[in-house]
Symmetry: C2
Subunit: 217 residues, 2 copies
């Protein structure tokens, strides 16, 4: 790291893990994890090709045997991150009972768990999307929109059934999403909460935001 010769402070998390089944094998996977770590820590433009190569332990030219450009590394990370969030939220909703409170709990738990289990991936997906060209960013934005619609759908049906009480479903959805999204910024080994504690707490917060008393959640 040439322009940043001090200790990392952007993250509290340490593991540059990727979801099972989507990590490339061999050197390509090591390159992707190194890019994940450095993009999360210093941002896309703050981490250079040489930084990534040094992290992997190979020459910078070798990177181009695995990815045609730095932006392709970012694009793959952002794709993985958004697909993981979308997949988990979709599954959570599919397996939840039909009551809106149960569905809301399932969606929030899924979002929080993705952010606690893959905090670096969530940071990159949330903060570095602007470094992609619009064509490369579009698929991620589409998945984001679908996640948003899942949440707003549950909120809307809860209000329609009279079990949720919300003056403005859109703002409530934004508030719930904001809480969960930020988890990636503070959750890590230097704080005392387990992912289960955070997940339970934030699911409870979401229910409170829609006016459901704690004992019903």
């Amino acid at each position: 790291m040439t322009r940043l010769n001090w200790e990392p402070r952007r993250l509290t998390a340490v593991s540059a893990d990727l979801p099972d089944g989507v990590t490339p094998a061999g050197t390509r996977g090591r390159v992707l994890r190194a890019a994940l770590k450095l993009f999360a820590e210093y941002g896309f433009f703050g981490a250079s090709i040489r930084d990534i190569a040094r992290e992997v332990g190979i020459n910078s030219a070798t990177l181009y045997a695995h990815y045609p450009s730095k932006e392709h590394m970012l694009a793959e990370l952002i794709k993985i991150g958004h697909e993981e969030l979308h997949r988990r939220m979709r599954q959570a909703l599919a397996h939840a009972a039909s009551e809106p409170a149960v569905q809301l709990t399932a969606l929030v738990r899924a979002q929080v768990i993705v952010h606690t289990d893959y905090p670096l991936l969530a940071l990159v997906a949330n903060h570095e999307l602007h470094a992609l060209t619009p064509e490369r960013a579009a698929p991620a934005l589409a998945l984001r929109e679908e996640c948003r619609e899942m949440l707003l759908g549950v909120l809307g049906s809860g209000v329609a059934q009279g079990v949720f009480h919300s003056a403005d479903v859109t703002l409530t959805g934004i508030a719930i999403g904001s809480m969960g999204m930020r988890v990636a910024n503070w959750f890590g080994p230097d704080q005392p909460y387990t992912r289960e504690q955070v997940t339970d707490a934030f699911a409870g917060f979401a229910l409170r935001l829609v006016g459901v008393p704690a004992e019903e959640g």
Copy 2:
């Protein structure tokens, strides 16, 4: 912008305004506002000295008559941003009645208003702090900690007085802060809400998070 030849997509806000009374006069002020716009849009490392000069309409060398380095521009922006948030939250608390619900409302309203009125400044303060050396970042982190303590103090006294019901004050504070912080990312002219609507809604959300029914807020 050489590495980013597409349209901005990170922001919905447009005005690169700074709080009254803290904006430098003359060219220095124009430089600072240009840096604010470009750092918010492309990140500190994504915006070059030449980009900033082009935005101001002067030669890149002239920038150094006003700031000794690019990092000094960022440091001043981050200082202004954190001082504005801290000042408003402190004043809000000072002028609020002693009831915890009133104080919590005042703090959340102050935070949200700073983020709706100075969204670019809030984005830079929140997202680009890691580009500063630890010495330059320390004052901002100290102000952040004081803001956190103001919020946790109000939450704690509300719980102690039995008017707030929170299983975990720390996580509740994180959730409230997360909601407000994200406002800078989505509030702007392309969405239908006024700052008053957002402020009212989020103050209500905070009260719901501490278990205070809507009619008491």
